[in-house]
Subunit: 127 residues, 2 copies
DNA sequence: ATTAAATTGTTATAATATAACACTATGTAA
DNA sequence: TTACATAGTGTTATATTATAACAATTTAAT
């Protein structure tokens, strides 16, 4: 696994330190002092970081979180829990869940190369 | 289940007839001849239709499809297969899958009120 | 040194979605 | 039937999310 480029490292560090998912333009505001001035610079770094599994996109929120599954071997098999009140997002790492979904075949016998699952509910604090 | 309003009905009929997911502004273009002129009119109808389970949003595509699970009792438990080449989207209705996910509990024993699952791969035609 | 691939910088623009306000229709209850 | 609440509509403006197009630079192998 090669090193990250300058922009990729700056943006990954920011997301990695964030306790919550970050949105692209929030990232932009936070890295402008480091010389990253344009949305495209952010989106390019995000695209790459997603591709190599260092971060994941929370599709329902248009936001990004760092992967904490030991630098995700499973960026093609992602599952998250999302609190609908405080918006806390946690990556789920359940062997049985990923096994079930990775092996899932639909009625036509189609097997999939990738999945993304988002669970919604209330977190401990919000219950 | 109450009837749909005028705009809701127009927009639902359009999505329901479409063989593929429709995007909001594509919907807008298609209903302008029927007097729906502004994005907000479309988004409001979409919001309501999603809420009552007549349509679903495909989050990874920002697009909408009609529910064909006999007017989805399961709008809070959705699963789709998405072809990464032709972008065909099919709603998966698998009793075992929905049972597994509805009963899924994470490490903290948290149970969820809702989920959305998107599988990616190649459809029959595209393999 | 040469070259290909990846990354960066920049300006402009496209695509997706919501805020705010005024008005109209519909259903329910005094 | 009047009063009231709720849902839906129409409209303008604006916010948010994301990509196109082009030129330059860096990186890592030959
Ligand atoms: Zn991960
Ligand atoms: Zn919470
Ligand atoms: Zn459905
Ligand atoms: Zn296909």
């Amino acid at each position: 696994m090669q090193n990250l480029s300058k922009n990729q490292q700056i943006i990954f560090d920011l997301i990695d330190k964030s306790p919550e998912p970050m949105k692209a333009y929030s990232i932009l505001h936070n890295v402008q002092k480091k010389g990253i001035k344009a949305p495209l610079q952010v989106y390019r770094a995000l695209d790459k970081l997603v591709e190599i599994g260092k971060i994941h996109k929370i599709e329902s929120r248009n936001a990004f979180i760092a992967c904490h599954n030991s630098s995700c071997q499973v960026s093609k098999a992602t599952a998250f829990s999302i609190c609908e009140i405080c918006e806390k997002v946690t990556e789920i790492s359940s062997a049985s869940l990923s096994k079930y979904l990775t092996n899932f075949k639909d009625k036509d016998g189609m097997k999939y190369s990738k999945y993304n699952l988002e669970f919604f509910g209330l977190c401990k604090k919000c219950r």
